[in-house]
């Protein structure tokens, strides 16, 4: 067996090992990433920068632990930014499995800034109905969310006293693992004129760029790349240390690169020694 044959028949366990190593090293040793911040992410960051201190922001937390690898870093970075700027945060969710994740994260970050639940932020929890929920918040939030996630009546929550509908928010942020951005663009922006910033997963992001072009979205953070860019911006602006997205992005880049290198190696072997066709070929040729 010469080298070309070997290149074509690397044992899959070596591939597994390489994958494991290229992913684990960046995770154990995250470096601040030298990436160019894309326009949609910069716009999102700047729009949130422009929220005046003391005003309110609505966050629609539409992802569960299944998509946290891609969306949680953005969510965290944005929470840091908003608390840093002394902005009040109202969180709702359209996903049944999201409230716990939202709660844990909010608690963790709000304590760093000495922010009080009910005064500086509130988690109103989950309501089924998707676009109907988004639409009804245009008339009266108190009606659709009569109590917060822990069952406390909204009338008794100081923060909620002056918040009734989209007019009371300087900005609406949708952190979405599905198509909820569509509802917010149609309803919150289209029907009620709210300003909108969104973050979405890699699979969905392509569907939302047209909204950005049409100015229906003021900013869009896409997938893990977007999250890493956002962490970069937060590092520059507030000295916040780059977190999981940056580490994850490095691991992603290395993993993609490793796969491409393996494909190239296999093809080098193949072209150096064109062997007779194997059964695999026929299945692709059929």
């Amino acid at each position: 067996m010469n080298i070309w044959d070997k290149l074509q028949s690397i044992d899959r366990r070596w591939i597994f090992l390489v994958m494991f190593i290229v992913i684990i090293i960046p995770l154990m040793n995250p470096k601040s990433l030298d990436i160019n911040v894309s326009e949609p992410t910069r716009k999102a960051f700047e729009r949130i920068e422009n929220v005046p201190s003391g005003s309110n922001v609505l966050i629609s937390w539409d992802f569960d632990p299944g998509s946290q690898a891609e969306l949680l870093p953005t969510a965290k970075a944005m929470l840091h930014q908003l608390f840093e700027k002394n902005v009040n945060i109202v969180v709702i969710t359209l996903w049944p499995a999201a409230p716990t994740l939202a709660d844990t994260t909010l608690n963790e970050i709000s304590t760093l800034y000495n922010k009080q639940e009910g005064v500086d932020w509130v988690n109103l929890g989950f309501k089924p109905g998707l676009d109907i929920v988004v639409k009804s918040m245009g008339s009266d939030i108190h009606e659709i969310f009569p109590a917060d996630d822990k069952g406390k009546r909204v009338e008794n929550i100081p923060l909620m006293k002056d918040i009734r509908n989209y007019d009371d928010f300087n900005l609406v942020i949708d952190l979405s693992a599905g198509s909820s951005v569509d509802f917010y663009v149609e309803q919150a922006h289209g029907a009620y004129g709210a300003d909108l910033v969104a973050a979405a997963t890699g699979v969905m992001i392509g569907d939302f760029y047209p909204y950005l072009e049409a100015n229906q979205l003021q900013g869009l953070v896409g997938a893990l790349v977007g999250a890493a860019e956002y962490e970069k911006l937060m590092e520059k602006a507030y000295g916040l240390e780059p977190d999981k997205a940056t580490a994850g992005m490095q691991a992603q880049a290395k993993a993609h690169l490793a796969i491409i290198i393996f494909i190239v190696l296999g093809n080098i072997g193949f072209f150096a020694k064109r062997k007779k066709t194997s059964p695999k070929l026929e299945s692709l040729n059929k």
Binding site: R12, P279, K280, E282, S283, L284, K286
Partner: protein
Amino acid sequence: MIFNFLNLIFQIQIKEGKGPVFLVLVLFICALVFFLDKARKGASFKIRKIAGLDAVNEAIGRATEMGKSILYTTGLETASHIATIASLTILSRVAKRAARYGTRLQVPSFDPIVMTLSQEIVRESYLEEGMIDSFRKDDIFYLTQEQFAYTAAVEGVLIREKPATVFLMGYFYAESLLLAETGNSIGAIQIAGTDAVTQLPFFIVSCDYTLIGEELYAASAYLSEDSSIISSLKAQDFGKALLWIFLFIGSIFTFFGSVKFLSIIGGSS
């Protein structure tokens, strides 16, 4: 007229916007009946070769020669999914051949109703081949409806029993690549078929033959070697031709500014 009458007596109304769907359905049923009638009158239909299907016999033969088993999975959906139904009809054809050659057939099941159906179907196939004595009901077994627990268990069967031939037919989710790669690593001949568009690429790269989308549905007819069932493929081709022509002419007219074709199918509202 008839509907006015129905409306008057029973207050039955036609739901709005279903016109185009109804038209397609009626045309298709007409084609189905027309070709079925031709088949009953003794016409035989020519169908082009489908690579993955010609390999079915060869793959079963290989398992027989090697004295190893065949593993067949009907996918990770319930009996209410049409792809599962198609897979069950293919299973019956495969089971007949396995019965004929005396090759062991294992069917790990995801859904209990599908398991019961598979047991009955395989049993009938063995009965028809006169091999009921070699039918082993316990080879068609339930694992669990938890997606990845099912996957782990099937991987276990693959790696320990080392079947010579693996059929992956039906609807699959993310586990498609886990199953197909493990099957590949044990050197089994793998024939896959699914209409899950997102999983097709993974079968294409890991399996020897892949039935793409409609080919899965054609497979049961093709393998039945029964002209009245094959006639349905002709009806499918008729439907395809109709849509093809509609799309072709429609796009020319639409390009030159007409919305007629779009409004026929309710796409311009």
